[in-house]
């Protein structure tokens, strides 16, 4: 039974279909990348999988349960696109990561030993054990992204969904994150990763699904870099590194 089964999914914004009849399945323990250019609908599809935008057509099943009736969200770790620096009331890294354990706790009950251990362990996994009690505002962009990943890891997910986790993250952090995620894949966690670039994180993938214009154009072996992209020292200069222009048009800005 696939942990995620999307069939014929269509999502539209204001009458315009952004995702058009997409089929996508992720088997237990499988690592799949969802790739595509900006505006190809990959982020929208992932939001539909996470239940954040409604489907106009098709169906989504999570762990064999139709999404509408799915309640075991704690089996899923979700890393949203980083939306700028945290602001408002300050929170420590540990507080943010412990949000990942709330679904495991009874409403209004204090954290159990297992909850506190999971928070400590996830922070250590992403290399932020020393920063547990720092306010997230004072952390760098890459460190903030690691906090979000630690939060998803703290749920002990069986399916890890990551939406562009490496945007604006330095190469060293990317490599560190790739190790963390690879460890989880080895431990049997399925991964669905949205990305528009190949990097350390995509090396460990089993499969890639490429979207173009809201449709699946490739489902199979991960694409290998060609031409100058094949040069391991090649560095992308992404003018859109701080957000998808097309997404912004859809979402009305962030």
């Amino acid at each position: 039974m696939p942990v995620l089964n999307v069939s014929g999914a269509t999502v539209s914004y204001g009458g315009r279909a952004v995702v058009r009849g997409v089929d996508l399945a992720v088997e237990p323990g499988e690592a799949v990348a969802l790739m595509g250019a900006n505006g190809s609908g990959k982020s929208t599809l992932i939001k539909a999988v996470a239940g954040l935008v409604p489907l106009a057509g098709g169906s989504i099943e999570l762990f064999g349960t139709p999404q509408k009736r799915f309640r075991a969200w704690k089996r899923i770790g979700y890393v949203p696109q980083r939306t700028g620096a945290a602001s408002g009331v300050p929170s420590t890294a540990a507080e943010v990561v412990s949000q990942g354990r709330l679904a495991h706790r009874l409403l209004g009950m204090p954290p159990k030993r297992a909850d506190r251990d999971a928070v400590t362990r996830s922070l250590a996994e992403v290399g932020l054990a020393d920063h547990a009690h720092c306010s997230v505002d004072t952390l760098s962009g890459g460190q903030q992204q690691r906090v979000l990943i630690a939060r998803a890891l703290a749920t002990d997910p069986e399916l890890l969904i990551m939406d562009e986790p490496t945007v604006g993250v330095d190469a060293e952090t990317q490599a560190a994150l790739a190790t963390v995620v690879a460890d989880r894949i080895d431990a049997g966690c399925a991964v669905l990763l949205v990305t528009h670039e190949l990097g350390p994180l995509t090396d460990r993938l089993d499969r890639a699904v490429v979207l173009a214009d809201g449709k699946v154009v490739h489902d199979g072996a991960p694409p290998r870099p060609v031409g100058e992209h094949a040069d391991p020292h090649h560095e992308h200069a992404h003018p859109h590194a701080n957000g998808d222009a097309a997404d912004e048009a859809i979402w009305g800005g962030k």
Binding site: Y78, E95, S135, T138
Partner: protein, 299 residues
């Protein structure tokens, strides 16, 4: 001012009642406000307060106790507002604006109709009358405040999660809609229960001012919440003492002290941050490796 004279005022029961009401609101309002500030709904206390005026006027019209009509109207308004916010493209901002205008206009309009019954006095609700509150009202405030503060303290991690990142909270399976509604209803209860005694101005100010004052110095949400409650207590207490000594209305004194404290701490925080930037505790983030080859320096 003379300490003994000030303490002398508190031999009067009305001063004791004023002090107790102000302290309870000072302690409990920031416990709700910390979530509202996090959710960027700092003005919602004020918005619900305007709606509350309509509730007060309905009380005048029907002859029912204004507190209960107010409570009913504000709770209903918060439910409508939450539905608008989550199900339509109207942002919380626009919903708030509608509440401001509609609420105050409704209050004035209905009071106008009720005025021939000779009971209408909206002003009292806008600015409060700590000094004329009876023991009944003080007890209602104390019980309401305790319930509100207890709820907020127990549910802190959950409410903080939905206020900080609602989308993530939804994906992690938290009852986001129910918690949002609970927060808004709690705000409505806080505003309408304390409005008659302390006034709309004071309660909405105490929702926000202590929080934004202490968050300049705190690092964690938990610390912000407790420090804000302590700050609210202190500001409210000082305000009542001050107003007793100067014989001025307590509500406005408390708000003015709050604003002054905020401005003073903002200045201090700016200085502290400047000093910290020079001797920072964290190492600065490591930058990307340079992508160009530097020409070898000429010997």
């Amino acid at each position: 001012m003379n300490v003994e004279t000030v303490l002398g005022y508190f031999e009067y029961e009305f001063m004791q009642r004023a002090l107790i009401s102000a302290l309870v609101v000072g302690l409990c309002a920031p416990a709700v406000g910390v979530f509202l500030v996090q959710k960027r709904l700092a003005l919602i206390g004020d918005g619900l307060g305007h709606i509350a005026l309509t509730g007060v006027a309905i009380g005048f019209l029907t002859g029912a106790a204004p507190m209960w009509t107010t409570l009913a109207v504000t709770v209903a308004a918060s439910i409508v507002m939450e539905i608008l916010r989550s199900h339509s493209k109207t942002s919380g901002d626009v919903a708030l604006a509608m509440m401001f205008y509609g609420g105050i206009a409704g209050g004035v309009y209905l009071t106008g109709i009720a005025s021939d019954k000779g009971v209408a006095n909206l002003q009292q609700y806008l600015f409060g009358s700590l000094l004329t509150a009876g023991w009944d009202e003080v007890w209602t405030i104390a019980i309401g405040g305790t319930v509100v503060a207890a709820l907020m303290l127990v549910l802190r991690p959950w409410l903080a999660a939905i206020c900080a990142d609602e989308q993530y909270a939804r994906v992690s399976g938290l009852p986001v809609a129910a918690l949002n509604l609970l927060l808004l209803i709690t705000t409505a209860v806080t505003v309408s229960v304390s409005m008659r005694a302390v006034g709309l101005l004071l309660v909405s100010a105490l929702l926000v001012i202590p929080v934004v004052t202490v968050q300049q110095f705190t690092r964690s949400f938990k610390a912000t919440m407790f420090a804000a409650m302590a700050a609210g207590l202190l500001i409210a207490g000082t305000g009542v003492l001050f107003s007793a000594a100067k014989d001025v209305p307590p509500g406005s004194t408390i708000v003015l002290i709050g604003v002054a404290v905020f401005v003073a701490t903002a200045v201090i925080a700016a200085i502290v941050h400047r000093v910290r930037r020079v001797r920072r505790a964290h190492l600065p983030p490591e930058g990307e490796p340079l992508e160009v080859e530097l020409p070898a320096a000429k010997a």
